[in-house]
Structures are given as C-alpha cells and as structure tokens.
Symmetry: C2
Subunit: 434 residues, 2 copies
C-alpha cells in the first residue's frame, strides 16, 4: 500500500490510494457536474485506511479511542429497544425527518444546560455534524456567495461547502475583537460564517468570549448566518468554560428564534461516531428550511440509532464526557511534553485545553506534504499536513496531530521519530535529540 | 391536527401541518440560496405524521408493514455484533465512505444473482436509496442540465433532483421501444435519465424488456447516465422476471465498468427502512466519484447498521422477500377487487405485479388535491394526490394508493369510503355502491 505513495505528491496520497488504473469505458468526467471537480478526497477519511498497518503510529485520524466506547451500554440499549414490542416496530420503521421526538427533547434540555433555552422545534437530528455542514452549505450558499472561515479551518467543512462553490473570505475572530473586520462583498447574495469555537479542528484552540461577541456583532450587522461547529465542546481539560456563540447570541436577542447562530452538535466524539447521530440547534424558521433540505437528501437519520442514542445519552453522556476528557487530557499533556523534548528549534505547537488535536507549525522551508511521504515511508508515522485545512492554499509548513488514539508512550515514541525526521532532513539542526 | 388543514389547498397540506405562525426575527428567506425555493415538503413524509390518528385508513405512506419486520433476527444481529469483542469497537467507530467491506461483498454477490457480475468496488453503500438519488443528482446535474423522467415519477426523486435545478424532459420508455425519442437538448451539459423499472413508485407498473433496451440505446447514443431505482424489485407477485436495466446493459457491454447504468438498491422494503441502508451499483469510475460526493455529505452510513444488515441479509433476505411478496400480493388483489367493486365509472387503476402501489386515474374534472382534503376531513382516508409525482404540473386527477400497510378488510373498507366520496361529490353518478 505504501509503495503506491512513493511517486506522488503527498497532497494526493489519499486519492492515489483509492485510484486504480482501470480503463475508462464511458467518459464519466464529461458527465460530472462542475461541482464534482471541486471535491477533494478527505485526507482524514482516506488515511483511516492506513491505520491497519501494525507498526504505524498515526496522528492522522480524528477518531475517538474505541477502547473508551461504552459498548455494554449500547448493547443493552439496542436490546432494550428491540426487546420492547411497543418500540421495536417503530425502531425499524421510517420516521419523520426532524428526528425522534424524545431525542429532540433530550437535546433541547441539553442545549438549555449550555445556556440555550429552546424547544424541540429548534432541533434537527442529522447524520453526524458533517451532514449538518452539508445541509447548511446547501441552504445558505449559492455560486460565489461568501463563506467566512478561519485560517486554518476544518477540512470537512471546506469539502462540504466546496460543493456549493462559495468564495472564501478569511475570518480572524480574535482580530474582530480588536475592530479588524474583513472586507465583505457588497451585493453578495447568501453566505455564511463558520467557526469551530471550542478546541477547534485542526488547532485545538478556542475563541475568547470577546472574539465570539465580535463575531456575532459582525454577523448581526450583515445578516450572515453563523455556523458554530461544536463537535469538540464536551472534551474539555479543565479551565473556565467560554459560553457557546449560540449561548451569547440568545443572551443578546432574548430568544433562540431571534438568533443568527446555527449550532452543529454531535454524539460522535463523546459516545460513538458509528451510529451517525448529530444535531443542529437554531431558530425554528431556519430549522424548518434545513429539514426540507434533509428530507430531499436522505429522509431521516436511522430510527433505531436515534432511539438507542437517547437511552445511552440519558445514562452516560455526562460520565462519558468526563471520562474521555480525563484520558485525552493526559494524552495531550504527553504529546506536548514530547514535542517540547524532541522537536528541533523553529517548530512550535498550540497548547489545547480540550478536543483531540494540536497544530504544529514548522519553519517556512519545511513542506508538510513532503514530510508526510517521508514519515509514512521511513518512520511509519502518519499525520495530516496543513494544506487541506486552508481555504486559500496556505499552511504548507503546518501539520495536525491527533492525540486521542494512542497511549502516552506511543505518543512519545511517535513524536521522537517524527522530530528526528524533521531535524535530519528539513530543519536547521539547532538542537538534536540526545 | 386536521383542523389546520381545512382552510388550505391540499397540495400544501403537509407543509401547513408543519408551519407555525411564529414571528420571523431574522430575515431567513433572504439568506437561503435560490435552490431552497425549489424544495417542496414531501407529501409522503409529512403525511406519515397523520398515521397516528386511530380511525384513519391511510393509503398514503410508502412504508412496509412493521408486523412483517424480522425483529428477532435484528435483535440477535445487534447483540452478536456488540457482543463480539473483535467487532464491537469497529461497529461503534468511524468507517470508510465506500461502506463495510463484507457488506459490499454480499451486495456484489447479490447483484451477480441479478445477472450483474461485479466486484465490491462497484458498490457504494448509501443511507437508503433516497441518498443514492441525491448523490447522483449532485454529481450529474448542473443548472439547466436535462433530467429525463417518466410522467408520473417518484416524487422523492424530483425532490432530490430539484436541488440541482435541472430541466425536466418527459421520458416515455414504452414509446422509445416504438422509436419515439424525446427531443434532447443540443449542447446541454451533464444530465441523467431516471426510471423505476420494476413496480414503480407511484404506478406499480414495470417496463418491458423492449422499453429497457430502447432506453439503454438512447442513453448510450447520447452519453446519458441512466439511474435505475430498484427499490421495489424484490417485491414481486409472480410472473416472469424482466432483467434489470443494469443487467441488460452489462450483457450489451460485456462488463459493468463499461455500463452507463447506475442501479440504486435498498434494504428498506424487504428488511427494514429504519436502519437506512441502501446501495448504488455501477461502473467503478462512477462509484469512485460518487463516493467523494458522499464523503462530503455525511462521511459514511452508520457502521453498526451496515454490519447488522449484512448478518440479517445473510440469514433472511430471500425468505423475507418471499414472505412480504406473498402478503402484499394478497393485499394488492384485495385492493384491486375493492376498486372494481366500489369505484364509480370513469375511475381506472393500474394492475401491479409487484411493489406497494397502485395508481388511480379519475375523470378529468376530479381534482385529487381537493379530494384529499375532503377524504381526510370526512372519511379519515389518506392518499397521495398525483400532482407531486409530476415534473410538469400534471396528474391532477390521479392519486397513489399504497396497499402494504393494511389488512384486506381494511383496504376494502377504505376503498368503499373513498369511492363513495368520489361518487357523491365529483364523478357523474353512472354507478353507485348498493
């Protein structure tokens, strides 16, 4: 598998792993709509395929540690739903697009705990938060409408939005708080702003309350819907909680139905990604429109999984969030310690207070795409290079490291190998491992 | 619930059941992309919400009889997957977009049984066949590209395609076989043809082999991808099997990778719609591109549901298909008998040899939208009026009747009530029930 990688630019690694050399019998390319040309394979998803290699230490995935899944609780919940004659027929049947009522009620109560008093009409259940991003792109983006995104930002959001051909404008929320506003496009139709406010993918950082407020002011002033991707919100390593953008928005407006924020949540990080259950919380006018978009896209989220996720969430959401936060915090500390110990001068990293990722910036002459090819081939190390997280083709000397999947000694070993490679082949050897 | 229906045109019934009268705080409509204006609520999905009314006899849904779900087999499968320590972590984890390998292998073997020798690379697992339609619209349709569809056609396909703003052209496959070809659009970019070849939704009819062959010849000559929606293929009441369009296509070309047909299958009708597992089978070049579209849309189908569906399909797919076919055949006969006995002159219906639906055509002066309002209010009868199945605003005097959900005496009672209403209020009373 790795052999096929050698001759290609690493930015295309993942695609090349998929591509085979079959002859093209029909001219499919001529049939595909222009938007297909803008879809890239997700480096994250494709790199998952490398994880089976036994000696690999992968910092690439964005996946939770399966050893922490509450398997027993899920098994009991499936058995409970299918063993109940009042529920089993319903669990296996079609259901309404909005989602399973009792799950939407639970989610409304969950959002209220985050400072967002709301009703189940403010909730749409989605197939993970990725589908939330696709649906929001679908309803808000037209050709050339503006998408305000941070630099870097979540590559899955770029993939979802690219389909709808927006024009990206760089958003720097912390500068917004200082009064630096991006030049918006006069007369542009539609559009959205997108942030991962807490423990972002890919940087692990979070926005200050001042930045969130400044962002809301911008969105209010220009009637721009704000998409708040909250996938990592519940994985927090301590420290003060910063209110969600939606929380601040509701406080400003007095009601969620007057808000401009659409909050994308998911059970994928805390409970399980394998059931594909997430949600959008926002003003009911918007939720109603997004529901129509979902109906055309795939009717509804798997009924049985919604019923099971409700049971599991009721039992263990809080304890599971605390459990994974404790484990990931330990791993994050180990990763940062290893980076401090092994990385050569000129390499810096973010200091996450939650989530699953840290973001490493290398000296400008280091190309993370090239480094990935070498790291895979020579060191059996995987990570995601920075470029696909950039809407503007930047971030070439950056990379994303995931710390949720390996034990501390593995993280240290992986960083030692990667740091040695960087020091030997790329960076000026200001400092070498002993 | 029914009260809110009284004052509106029945074409909007379903939307009106959803809509509330909240004030609009933000001007959401100004934010929505133009494509949103083209999405209609699915009358089918929304009418599902009426099914809870105790005295209702609904011919509206396209849903299987939940009494026929193999609940025990599903319960054992979930328990088996989650009780196996080698499988449970994987079942709850992210997985690759293409789908669970062993399920794709089973589906490849299943397609081979239908005369389509293929490999798992020819299979993409989707969230039901509805997602297959959305993804195919996404990759093949650009603004104003041509979508060839029958009249009437499946309304969920129209909803899925509408998002991508095609120009619809009427396709009459049986006329194609007689040499009548629709005038195609010179210079049009992209496009597709769409048929439900077997026991169509909404008519219950199937295409002759000659019509399928003529359709393939048209698509080959003009490089048009043919979307074959096979949702009802396995529900057959006897009679000779007509080869699938994809089967004929592969026979013509010698290899699936040279075919122009994309076959959308689903487990929803035979096993369960509540797990949301379907598939697309086609040339691997196309499958690879559609996989990228799915990745951006929602990453992948719920992992655990794919593993469970494989186990259930291995055990009971064939026996379950035979079982539901027997039951639905009996119900279809009862429905047709009731129509013959009760309906006034000028009302005709199709004679399905499979599937879940029959299509009723009334005299031209009868408006099925109006009839639905009256039927719901006065007779507690639901059906889907013909209009939403038309890409061109026709079919106003038609309606779709589902026969999968009720026992024979209920079907007879429902038709008696509906026929009485039609005879009393709309049709010329050429014949009355005794």
């Amino acid at each position: 598998m790795i052999d096929t990688v050698q001759s290609v630019r690493s930015g295309d690694i993942v695609v090349s792993l998929l591509l085979t050399q079959d002859r093209i019998a029909m001219d499919w390319d001529a049939c595909f709509a222009e938007r297909v040309q803008r879809m890239g394979a997700s480096e994250i998803r494709e790199l998952l395929k490398l994880l089976d290699r036994p000696q690999i230490i992968s910092f690439a995935g964005g996946i939770p540690d399966p050893a922490l899944f509450p398997v027993e609780v899920f098994a009991e919940a499936y058995q409970g739903v299918l063993g109940d004659t009042c529920l089993s027929g319903r669990a296996l049947q079609y259901s309404v697009t909005e989602g399973y009522g009792p799950l939407r009620s639970w989610l409304a109560a969950h959002m209220a705990q985050l400072g967002v008093p709301c009703h189940e009409d403010n909730i749409l259940v989605t197939s993970g938060s990725q589908q939330g991003l696709d649906l929001l792109g679908r309803v808000f983006l037209s050709d050339r409408s503006v998408a305000l995104v941070t630099e870097p930002t979540y590559l899955g959001a770029l993939q979802a939005f690219n389909v709808y051909k927006p024009r990206y404008v760089a958003l720097v929320p912390e500068e917004l708080a200082d009064g630096v506003v991006p030049r918006a496009v006069p007369g542009a139709r539609g559009g959205l702003a997108y942030v991962v406010a807490d423990f972002a993918n890919p940087t692990g950082e979070r926005l200050s309350e001042a930045a969130r407020t400044a962002l809301l002011e911008l969105c209010e002033a220009r009637d721009i819907p704000l998409i708040e991707d909250a996938a990592y919100e519940a994985i927090r390593f301590g420290g003060q909680r910063v209110p969600a953008c939606l929380t601040l928005d509701v406080r400003r407006k007095g009601s969620i139905d007057a808000a401009c924020t659409l909050y994308c949540g998911t059970f994928s990080k805390v409970l399980s990604p394998g059931l594909r259950v997430g949600w959008i919380c926002g003003p009911r006018d918007a939720i109603r429109r997004i529901t129509l978009a979902k109906q055309a896209a795939d009717l509804h989220v798997a009924t049985i999984n919604q019923m099971v996720m409700l049971r599991v969430a009721e039992q263990v959401y809080e304890s599971q969030a605390a459990r994974i936060s404790t484990v990931y915090a330990r791993r994050c500390r180990a990763l940062l310690t290893a980076i401090d110990a092994h990385m050569p001068a000129g390499v810096s990293s973010t200091r996450p207070e939650g989530g699953m990722f840290t973001w490493v910036t290398m000296p400008p002459q280091v190309d993370a795409d090239d480094l990935l090819v070498e790291a895979l081939r020579e060191q059996a190390i995987a990570f995601v290079p920075g470029r696909p997280f950039s809407a503007t083709g930047g971030q070439k000397n950056s990379l994303r490291l995931n710390f949720s999947l390996h034990a501390e000694d593995q993280l240290n070993e992986g960083i030692a190998r990667l740091a040695g490679l960087i020091a030997r082949t790329h960076a000026k050897p200001a400092q070498r491992p002993a």
